[in-house]
């Protein structure tokens, strides 16, 4: 194999996208050709920049909350996104709208719960206990807060092992 053939294969090699036959063909060339080897190293060096960042934990009860909203007919797209943490000028959702919405969700959740409790005796159903739906408006409100506190608690030790950028795939 010559450089002309080898060069376009190098990024694929680094990404582990070559077949074992292709890799076996390319490897001897990389060993004998400093230019192509340098290219492979250059491609690989970038991996070291992509390290896992501090994880954002999933808030407790998130799945139950989302499922309730989904079943309540919330299709997501119409709802405005919360602003970034730093800005607070558009964070004021009208309280009445919020309460009505929470009540609607709670009502549907209660139906869901009653159906679920009749039908299921599984651990999954425990997430949908009646008291939880009664406290739904409060928990909706507290969700952001909990989330931030958890993140703060995780804080420094939330980092996980980095990918070893220096070794090949």
């Amino acid at each position: 194999m010559n450089c002309e053939h080898a060069r376009p294969l190098v990024p694929l090699y680094v990404d582990g996208e070559l077949t074992s036959v292709q890799s076996a063909e390319l490897r001897p060339h990389l060993l004998s050709c400093p230019a192509c080897r340098g290219l492979a190293q250059a491609e690989q060096s970038l991996h070291a920049w992509f390290v896992p960042t501090a994880e954002i934990p999933v808030p407790t009860g998130f799945a139950a909350h989302v499922a309730r909203r989904a079943v309540a007919g919330d299709t997501g797209s119409k709802r405005p996104f919360a602003p970034a943490e730093s800005s607070n000028h558009e964070h004021s959702e009208p309280i009445l709208q919020f309460v009505l919405h929470a009540l609607a969700v709670a009502a549907i959740a209660l139906v869901v719960v009653s159906i679920a409790m009749r039908r299921l005796d599984q651990p999954a159903a425990e997430e949908l206990k009646a008291h939880e739906s009664q406290a739904l408006d409060a928990s909706l409100f507290a969700l952001d807060q909990i989330n931030r506190e958890e993140l703060r608690a995780v804080g420094t030790n939330g980092l996980q092992g980095t990918r070893d950028g220096s070794s090949g795939r």
Partner: protein, 202 residues
């Protein structure tokens, strides 16, 4: 409807989707539980705000539920979900307005960059979190078509085929985008952080 939820074997995604469409909200909740962690991690690559991450993931699941009946079972459920998540993220970035306008330069029209032989490693003095922040900042300044492939390949560790499936583009396009994205990333790195990019004079 049969009570599949009480079976002992873990339910397949396809079964849960069918049950959710049939009106069983717990099936959908199980799907959310199954993939919420991965979607939080995914959204985290685009924003470091917990509130924004939660919004993106919630919106993704709400959209998924509302069009669950359009899931064709031809691809894996997660691929389908991932595609919705990606669109939600891109939509979100557009609305937030921090994403570079794509019209300024159409990256698909930019010629293939010169093969870049420079080795660019993070300076050893940098903490891991600092490296992550630099990378995040550079990614934020990139056109989204480059940013998405880089995140999928480098942070999500996805294969070319998976990226192609999610973005609905060919493997060849994934290849060329990724190639250009890396060249661009490297370029920005050495321009914006020359003091932290090691080994430039290869």
């Amino acid at each position: 409807m049969a009570l599949k939820l009480v079976q002992e074997a873990p339910l397949q995604d396809a079964d849960l989707v069918r049950e959710a469409i049939a009106g069983n909200p717990l099936s959908f909740q199980l799907l959310v539980e199954r993939y919420q962690g991965r979607l939080f991690a995914l959204a985290r690559h685009y924003t470091s705000s917990p509130v924004e991450v939660e919004d993106i993931v919630q919106d993704t699941f709400l959209k998924a539920y509302s069009r669950l009946d359009t899931f064709q079972h031809q691809s894996a459920f997660y691929t389908w979900l991932y595609r919705i998540a990606t669109n939600t993220v891109l939509d979100f970035l557009k609305r937030r307005g921090r994403c570079p306008v794509q019209a300024v330069e159409d990256p698909e029209l930019v010629g293939s960059p010169e093969t870049d032989h420079r080795i660019v490693r993070p300076d050893a003095r940098l903490e891991r979190q600092e490296v992550a922040e630099i990378t995040h900042t550079i990614l934020e300044g990139m056109p989204e078509i480059f940013r998405t492939v880089l995140i999928m390949r480098e942070l999500e560790d996805m294969a070319y085929q998976e990226i192609a499936d999610v973005l609905d583009i060919s493997i060849g396009t994934v290849e060329s985008r990724l190639f250009r994205a890396r060249a661009r990333f490297k370029e920005k790195l050495v321009t914006q952080y020359p003091e932290f990019a090691q080994g430039l004079n290869e």
